[in-house]
């Protein structure tokens, strides 16, 4: 058995940092009470304070006030609250039209589809070959009836970073609210709501070595938002339910632990992987933008081979990565992101996503490059596709 798995799927989930767990522990065993009002008992008041401190720390990291940040169960819930909440609050008043990009992650994309079924008009905005939203098309798509624009900060698969400042500017100009899913950029790519005209921001702890099941939503003061989860008056009456105080404390600790030095280290690993693979493995294509890209993400198509075969071979060698291949997905559909940037099934089929985290090293990069080069070469030997075999392809 292998001693250690080289885990390169940090966009999907990350290993919890022990320091996060240490910060959370007292809120399971000591200060486990419900966060009470200021007139409650002392254990509850302490819990309330811990929640408030966690909220304030995360809000501050976004340039927001404490009252503008609510805790949720993760990015899926945050984006649901944002997209459906605005639709509920403004659908009748402003108009039943929303705009999303074609390559949004499923929480936004499927919230938009759900609204479409309820009679909303949804524009699924095209992106260019590197995944960037066309700003002119965005402007053209918007009307007086557009209630919300939801465009991600960076893509979950290909890592392309959008120009939020200009997108937000267009939304202001047109009088629509702007939500962004920052799950894959939060703490790694600067986002200051004091500078960026954005009304709602989805964030999550699971991508930054925090606990799973904890996320948050920045809600700019005064943003109309329908209540989605009914119950008590928690989270400024926007999200009912007993507060997950250990989770909130862990999330804040996880935010605190991310440093610019670490982010630079991730960037260096990413760059080495991209440069080496493109130079050393023939017939490869980088998916996404080369420089407008989150520091922890590389996504490369290995032509003529299928991604699930690659991931299984790598798994047997002790590397965990993911693929946009249909064979890997729960819906048996190829990556909508690769299709969105103009790729075909073949490009999605052979696409591999590598995402780095705190516990990766440069040795991991060299290890994965060597292994993937071997695996791809082996698989190409049994593939009926390929450059050196082209003459035989049409012989059906």
């Amino acid at each position: 058995m292998l001693e250690r798995v080289v885990y390169l799927d940090n966009a999907a989930a990350t290993r919890l940092d022990e320091r996060v767990l240490d910060a959370m522990k007292p809120y399971f065993f000591e200060t486990y009470a419900v966060a009470t009002s200021e007139f409650g008992y002392s254990l509850g008041i302490e819990a309330q304070e811990a929640l408030g401190e966690a909220r304030s720390a995360i809000a501050t990291s976004l340039g927001a006030d404490s009252e503008e940040f609510i805790f949720t169960s993760g990015d899926t819930e945050s984006s649901n609250i944002a997209v459906k909440g605005v639709a509920q609050a403004l659908g009748e008043k402003k108009g039943r039209h929303i705009v999303v990009s074609k390559i949004e992650d499923f929480p936004v994309l499927n919230s938009a589809r759900a609204l479409e079924k309820q009679g909303f008009d949804v524009t699924y905005l095209d992106v260019d070959g590197e995944g960037l939203v066309d700003l002119d098309k965005l402007r053209d798509a918007m009307t007086d009836r557009t209630a919300l624009v939801s465009i991600q900060h960076a893509n979950q698969e290909i890592g392309t970073i959008q120009d939020l400042e200009r997108i937000g500017g267009i939304c202001r100009e047109k009088g629509a609210l702007f939500h962004t899913d920052a799950t894959h950029t939060f703490t790694r790519v600067p986002l200051d709501v004091g500078k960026i005209p954005v009304d709602l921001v989805t964030v999550s702890a699971h991508t930054i070595h925090g606990p799973k099941g904890v996320g948050g939503l920045y809600v700019r003061s005064g943003t109309p938002l329908g209540k989605w989860m009914d119950g008590g008056f928690q989270e400024f009456n926007l999200r009912a339910g007993l507060e997950n105080i250990p989770g909130a404390v862990g999330f804040a600790k996880a935010v605190d632990l991310v440093t610019p030095e670490e982010t630079e280290k991730l960037r260096a690993m990413r760059d080495r992987l991209i440069d080496r693979v493109l130079a050393e493995v023939p017939d490869t294509t980088l998916n996404g933008h080369r420089s407008k890209r989150v520091p922890q993400n590389a996504n490369i198509t290995f032509h003529f081979v299928e991604g699930e075969s690659i991931t299984l071979h790598l798994d047997m060698r002790g590397f965990a990565v993911s693929t946009g291949s249909a064979c890997f997905s729960r819906s048996l559909e190829g990556s909508h992101v690769i299709f969105g940037i103009g790729g075909d099934h073949e490009r999605a089929h052979g696409s591999i996503r590598f995402t780095f985290g705190r516990y990766n090293t440069m040795e991991d990069v060299d290890g994965i490059v060597a292994s993937i080069a071997e695996v791809v070469e082996e698989l190409r030997k049994i593939s009926p596709l390929g450059r050196d075999k082209e003459g035989q392809e049409g012989s059906k």
Binding site: L312, S325, F328, L332, D344, P384, S395
Partner: protein, 211 residues
């Protein structure tokens, strides 16, 4: 470590048997295409005296179950008569592999089809097939028997996912008992199109979901 496949699947995936091409084969076929996902090519040589498969090779552009199924069918088919080899089913291949995940039926069935098509190709080239038959509801139903229902690993016909088939002047309509936003709706549609569109007298194919 915990892998999603049986030991036998992994063994064939790691060390696929009879990989490659046969120079000037007696029969060959390519099933699937890079556009739709997985692809398998199968090459056979036939011993004309005994009418058995004397040599067989395959290539795969596909996932683990596709590769493993390609490998196992070459072992199952080698030495068999053409009629025996034609009757090898996905179930037999899956059993020989110690089981395959239901969800992967559609990836692995391609290899079975590749084998049948290679035999058919041999028979066509050697004047062993009759006239082309016009496409009827029955022909469509039989072909849809090869489209797998990812929910069960059985065919869409057997699992009553296909509720109606209409054929009129070369225009085929297939009614599927799934909502159009179902998780598997796009893949089922694509596979149906892929199976029916190539029929020689089919002009159009429409897949209708029951919302």
């Amino acid at each position: 470590m915990k892998f999603p496949y049986s030991e036998t699947v992994l063994e064939h995936f790691r060390h696929p048997r009879n990989v490659g091409q046969i120079e000037e084969p007696d029969g060959k076929a390519i099933e699937g295409s890079p556009a739709c996902g997985d692809m398998v090519s199968v090459y056979i040589n036939v011993d004309k005296e005994t009418n058995t498969i004397s040599d067989i090779k395959f290539e795969s552009y596909g996932c683990a179950s596709n590769i493993a199924t390609g490998s196992i069918i070459t072992e199952l088919a080698k030495g068999k008569t053409l009629d025996e080899a034609k009757k090898i089913t996905w179930k037999q291949a899956a059993d020989a592999l110690g089981g395959l995940p239901k969800l992967k039926a559609h990836c692995s069935v391609l290899a079975i089809e590749g084998l049948r098509s290679a035999i058919q190709n041999y028979e066509e080239r050697h004047g062993l097939v009759k006239e082309r038959k016009p496409t009827t509801v029955d022909v469509v139903r039989r072909r849809l028997g090869k489209v797998m229902n990812p929910l069960s690993g059985l065919s869409v016909v057997r699992t009553n996912l296909v509720t109606a088939i209409e054929v009129k002047d070369g225009n085929v309509r297939v009614i599927i008992d799934l909502p159009s936003d179902h998780q598997f709706a796009p893949v089922v549609k694509e596979e149906i199109m892929e199976k029916i569109e190539p029929l020689w007298d089919v002009k159009s194919v429409e897949v209708v979901f029951t919302d």
